[in-house]
Assembly symmetry: C2
Homo-oligomer: 316 residues x 2
């Protein structure tokens, strides 16, 4: 059984002392471009700069004290690693983070900065999984997967509870899809509160495994990691795929050019630093403008962690 | 007589239907770095991306109908030009903007985009002033100076009314100083509402004419325009200097390195796109940390208009 609306509401209570209630911004230029009323849910202003903190925090604070005392563990080189490390620090328990040895130094430093205990491994999925298994065997830590976990999905859904509370007239919500944690939480929260709200996923064309999974009815493997939206390169799990099939109306694949255009528009016009994965939702609006015209549309700006020395519109 | 607190409160009423009430953000990383509670007043999220809209809007909507019908005029290549153009459009009157012929095309396009009628001139102060005089002679338009104008100063002060309403425990406010419109409005509003609040100006060392003016007791001419904080290259007027002498506690000159560091910190940690002029206030916090330690400090992030193809940390 996927998380219920009650699970998501309980997650909201659980993370309330720790997470930001992020603001919703509007941008008249964007509204004019799309011909719609767009509401930007600012998860790039969440702790660690991404929605991932919600799910990690809910998972960490859901543990019984005896489980929690042994710590939590994951393998990740992305925002989930930082999110889990911070959530564990807030509960006062260890976080064991397995990271590939080619992870950027800045990402390792961020995890360490939140108190995460890093174990480096070879940069293969097999090495990540076997290293994580060793860490768990040695510590008894609880694994918190970045998205294939009901507590994580429920946590991600709390952003949509807030969005619908702030913008009750919402008719559609757009969120990006990578492994599916955010879009599943979004869809479950939206359907639980307001079943008429249409939930739409946005996905890079270069990482369109979710789109192809829905088309084929079977979870498709990820593509080679070519999209600049590096947060969205993961594949769905059976758990997230099942929720998406039931509750997500459609998946819009978007071009890399669209992602960069969308990201830059938010920087220039909304003055918000968002990462390429967050530009994916804006790209869906821009590339399928007619489908959103005249509507009240929420878009989840999922994160803002980006290398300011290497912006996508400056890279050849 | 400088604007009173009543003038500023009336300005707030006058611009309320047109201007954004901008949010106040906090950033735990910044608080940790300074050892203080910093409140960021987000004027980069104001219309046209800068506080300048407040003053221009107050000036435009202060005009009698017969004056207004003849339009408004200014010479500016910066945010004031866009602000005046938009304010005039909102009142349905012409805005005549004299711009130097070497103004970047993107700035000319922005003014034109808000409906401003541009007259280009030679890029000298003499040419700007004589061209403006011709435009005024031909049209009967009212000149709205970017800062040497009580209506403009009162309008800029409205940001501080909002900031003090949102953060009543504020002990200090930092704002950048160029020509002085923002710092004067800030000081008059703060002293009017809460006389114990200390108002501090921040200024690039490379454009420290305000600092030297206070030291010498006489308005000093501007330095060559070398600072990257291009919004702060203007000189004080006698009007703004008199207000600063009376109400501003000190002027902190900051290094160019500090400006870039401060700007980048806000991009990276607060995820906000601010322009170098707004980084000047953050630089003052970073370079004079001890003076702010333990305090509740408001900082006015004055604007967010920046060329995303040419960021200061990427330019040699």
């Amino acid at each position: 059984m996927p998380p219920t609306i009650v699970d998501i509401q309980q997650a909201a209570e659980r993370i309330r002392p720790h997470a930001h209630r992020t603001p919703v911004l509007t941008c008249s230029y964007l509204n004019e471009q799309i011909g719609a009323n767009i509401y930007l849910k600012c998860e790039h202003l969440q702790k660690v700069g991404a929605f991932k903190f919600r799910g990690a925090c809910n998972a960490v604070f859901s543990l019984r004290d005896d489980e929690a005392a042994r710590g939590v563990a994951t393998h990740s080189s992305g925002n989930h690693a930082q999110a889990l490390a911070l959530a564990a620090r807030l509960r006062g328990i260890p976080a064991y983070i397995v990271m590939p040895s080619n992870s950027p130094a800045v990402k390792q430093a961020a995890v360490a900065g939140y108190g995460g205990q890093i174990t480096l491994c070879e940069p293969t999925l097999a090495a990540r999984e076997s290293t994580l298994a060793s860490v768990v065997a040695a510590t008894g830590a609880t694994v918190v997967h970045p998205y294939d976990d009901d507590r994580v999905i429920a946590g991600q859904g709390t952003a949509t509870l807030e969005l619908l509370a702030d913008v009750p007239q919402l008719e559609m919500i757009v969120a990006p899809v990578g492994g599916g944690g955010l879009i599943c939480g979004t869809a479950l929260a939206a359907k639980g509160i307001s079943p008429s709200v249409r939930v739409i996923a946005a996905e890079p064309e270069l990482a369109d495994d979710a789109f192809r999974s829905l088309e084929s009815g079977v979870v498709q493997p990820p593509r080679p990691p070519l999209t600049i939206a590096d947060g969205l390169r993961a594949a769905l799990s059976e758990r997230t795929f099942a929720i998406i099939r039931q509750h997500v109306e459609q998946i819009i694949p978007v071009s890399e050019t669209g992602i960069i255009t969308g990201m830059r528009m938010i920087w220039e016009r909304a003055k918000q630093v968002i990462e390429p994965s967050a530009g994916v939702g804006i790209a869906a609006l821009l590339e399928r403008q007619a489908e959103f015209a005249g509507k009240h549309v929420g878009v989840i700006l999922c994160g803002g962690n980006v290398d300011l020395d290497r912006l996508p519109w400056q890279v050849g």
